[in-house]
Each structure stands twice: as structure tokens, then as C-alpha cells.
């Protein structure tokens, strides 16, 4: 991943604008997905909008046949979404480490430890679970060692 994702893991002061950082990171996820053929193949039947909420900041990921067609910042009451993943910035930062602590290593882990919530059409998520989890993992540090 590029600069924005790496910024989550920098030592020292917190980012000045965490909301911008979240948005930029998902824009980088969008680019990474375009460069990941196996995920484009796995997601070829997935054309849904997913809400990711981080510390109350809403971001809509609109998938079109496995690609993220747009990354749009909310809130928006006009944007229907199929399912939502809600978490907090600190949890997401840990999730994106190469070796997250137990519970932070998976989206369902975040739910289990009370740092995340999944709403909406859960069956839709589960049917596309490998694809979505790997897309979320695109911002993970050192992906070669931590699948």
C-alpha cells in the first residue's frame, strides 16, 4: 500500500486529519484492487454498495463487478447500501497491521471483541466474504507475510 495506509502506522503524533486519512486509504484500496487480478475475478459478480463507518465517518464503497467504481464520503441518506461495517479508527489501524492482535485480525473478530458492528444484508456479505475480507485487507501492512 501507499502513503496513506503507511501513515496509519507512523510513530509519533496522530494524523492531523484522521477523516481525510480514512478517505485517502480507501481510495488507495480502490487502486490496489484494480491491480489485483485474483480479487477482480473473485468479485466479478459483486456489484453492491458497502458502507464503512469509522468513528462515525461514513464512506460508501460502490462496487461494480468487483471493482470499486467510487469511494464517496457521507453522510448520505440517498445512498442505499447492502451491508455496513462500522468500527473505530484505532481498531482499523490495528486491523491493518501485518500481525494484528487477537480479535483485530478479522472483521468478525472486531465484532466479537466489541470494536465493530456489521449491519444490513449479512447473507450478501457471507456469500462474498472471501472477496470482501481480502479487499479490506488490501491496506494491511506487509501483505506478503500476512494473508
Amino acid at each position: 500500500m501507499e502513503a496513506a495506509a503507511a501513515a496509519w502506522h507512523e510513530e509519533g503524533d496522530s494524523p492531523q486529519d484522521p477523516e481525510a486519512l480514512v478517505l485517502t486509504t480507501f481510495q488507495e484500496v480502490q487502486e490496489s484492487l484494480n491491480a489485483t487480478p485474483h480479487l477482480l475475478r473473485l468479485g466479478r459478480l459483486f456489484s453492491e454498495t458497502v458502507l464503512v463507518e469509522v468513528d462515525g465517518q461514513e464512506i460508501y464503497l460502490s462496487f461494480d463487478q468487483g471493482r470499486i467504481a467510487s469511494v464517496t464520503e457521507g453522510p448520505s441518506r440517498k445512498t442505499p447500501w447492502r451491508f455496513a461495517l462500522r468500527t473505530d479508527g484505532a481498531a482499523l489501524e490495528e486491523f491493518w497491521r501485518a500481525r494484528p492482535e487477537p480479535g483485530f485480525h478479522d472483521i468478525f473478530g472486531l465484532v466479537k471483541i466489541g470494536r465493530g458492528r456489521i449491519d444490513g444484508d449479512i447473507l450478501c456479505l457471507v456469500k462474498n466474504l472471501r472477496f470482501f475480507k481480502e479487499v479490506m485487507g488490501l491496506a494491511r501492512m506487509d501483505e506478503g507475510k500476512a494473508a
Binding site: F108, V126, R130
Partner: protein, 285 residues
């Protein structure tokens, strides 16, 4: 080119009054250790330990595919049957294999649902075994997902099951073994993972039986991975605390399938567990 030391054979036993043709693998010599796979998988989860000379030098590791799993076919008539594993059928199957193979008080090592049934056997049939290694095992947990997800006409249950259980694999696991582990779930027969989970998430009969376990006669050692979301360290600790004399080790960098997902990481914990079990009796061939 060289062959691995693992050998496989088929054994036909009777379960619920009907034949079950069961695939059995074994490696090593010495004290018998019967190894049980997790839900939705098969004996391949044990292949690393069965290829480990340090483990097999003094232990005869035996693993078998439960009916409906791996190379053990479902019973005749499966096409009109709903597969729902029960505690009773599971116990009967394990005991039938012990008897069919003529095993003299083996150590029983089971993971996940295999760990659950190991503790049931520790409570109900301790005389058949010399000790119990209960891996990712607990008294009871309800499902944190809808088990019916895994048997639908409009989705691939194996792919969904694999994606879900990937949550239980540690990020410390080598990538190749993570995916080898998940492959077994992807290969599972339609409805088999769901049928296993029915047993695992709905039968709470072990809770009232834990106090029956006499660890002075048959030791019980629990192993649990810190990254296991299904049987968490808290679940395993609660279970161990309810069994007087039971011991437990938390494996900080492992998940729900330790022998399969990260064999090198699991190895020292398993060797330690074996060392806690009584050695084979002098008259046990």
C-alpha cells in the same frame, strides 16, 4: 523422490447398526494416539505431525476421516438424509474405530468438535483411553453465525465456510498452510460443515458432565490458540477450570486449527501435551 511415512487403509465398522467404511491413516510406532479432525475437514489436518519424526518416534499417530468427511463416504441412503452429527453417533464412531483397530487405551487428541467429543469421552468412557488432549475445546458455545448459511442452493457452502473460518486462523500462520487449511473446508460435502456445527453449537450436554472427569486416572490437557474466535482462550479456561486437575496452555500466535495452520508453532505445544500423558503400558503392544 521419497514416500512419506503415512499409510492409509480402510476400516469398516458398525455405527447405529449400519456399516461405515472409514479411512484411517497412521504413522509412527509406540503409544497409540488417536487424532480427531475439526468440523468440515479431515485427517489432512494432522499430516504435519504424522510426518514429524520427533512425534512419531515414540507415538503411533492414528487419524481417521469421520463418515461424510474426506475419504470416508456417507452411509448408504445419504442422498435423502439430512446430515446432523449427534454426540451419540460421534461417540459411537470413535469407540468403534478404537475397537475395530484393536487400540489399547490410546491417548485421544481432538481439535474443535474433536476436542469437544474428547472431553465427552473423558467423562463417559474414560476406561477406553489413557489421556486426553483437547485442542480448541470447550464445554459449549452457541454459534456466532447462522449455520444454515453453509447449506444453500444459491451459494457454495464450502467457500462460505472457508471464508468464515479464516477468521479463526492466526496472522502468524504461514500463508501456504493458511490456504491448505481453508482448502479442506472448500472441499467439504454439501451440508457437512453445517451438520458438524449443529453438533458443536447446539449440544450443551458436556457442561453437566465435566465434573465426572477424573484426571487422576486419565489426564486432560487443553490447548487453545489466542486467535481462536470460536473457542476463545476464555472459553477454554472456563472449561479447564470446571475439570479438577486439568491443565491448559494458551498458544499466543495460533488459531483454531493449530496443527494445520501453523504446524511449526504448534509442535512444541503438542510435544508438551504428549509428555503429560502416561506412557504406554508394558503389555500394550
Amino acid at each position: 523422490m521419497s514416500f512419506e511415512p503415512i499409510t492409509g487403509r480402510y476400516l469398516t465398522v458398525s455405527v447405529a447398526g449400519a456399516p461405515r467404511r472409514i479411512y484411517v491413516e497412521e504413522a509412527g510406532a509406540g503409544r497409540p494416539v488417536l487424532c480427531l479432525h475439526t468440523a468440515g475437514a479431515d485427517t489432512r489436518q494432522w499430516r504435519h505431525l504424522m510426518n514429524d519424526a520427533a512425534v512419531t518416534a515414540g507415538n503411533r499417530l492414528i487419524a481417521f476421516d469421520m463418515p461424510w468427511h474426506g475419504k470416508s463416504l456417507p452411509p448408504e441412503g445419504w442422498e435423502v438424509e439430512e446430515y446432523l452429527l449427534t454426540t451419540e453417533a460421534y461417540i459411537e464412531t470413535v469407540l468403534a474405530v478404537v475397537d475395530g483397530m484393536g487400540l489399547d487405551r490410546p491417548v485421544l487428541a481432538g481439535c474443535s468438535m474433536g476436542g469437544r467429543i474428547a472431553l465427552q469421552l473423558a467423562a463417559l468412557h474414560p476406561e477406553t483411553f489413557s489421556g486426553f488432549i483437547a485442542i480448541e475445546a470447550s464445554d459449549f458455545q452457541p454459534a456466532w453465525y447462522d449455520i444454515d448459511w453453509f447449506h444453500r442452493p444459491d451459494a457454495h457452502g464450502g467457500e462460505m465456510g472457508a471464508a468464515l473460518v479464516s477468521a479463526n486462523i492466526s496472522p502468524h500462520a504461514p500463508r501456504v498452510e493458511r490456504w491448505n487449511t481453508l482448502w479442506m473446508f472448500m472441499q467439504s460435502g454439501p451440508g457437512v460443515f453445517r451438520g458438524d456445527l449443529s453438533f458443536y453449537t447446539k449440544d450443551d450436554s458436556l457442561i453437566g458432565r465435566l465434573c465426572r472427569i477424573d484426571t487422576s486416572k486419565t489426564p486432560v490437557h487443553l490447548l487453545v490458540g489466542a486467535y481462536d474466535l470460536t473457542c476463545t482462550p476464555e472459553d477454554a479456561r472456563r472449561t479447564a477450570a470446571a475439570i479438577p486437575g486439568a491443565s491448559i496452555a494458551v498458544m499466543d500466535e495460533l488459531g483454531h486449527f493449530p496443527m494445520s495452520e501453523h504446524p511449526e508453532g504448534f509442535r512444541p505445544f503438542f510435544l508438551d501435551a504428549l509428555a503429560r500423558m502416561p506412557v504406554a503400558r508394558a503389555d500394550a503392544a
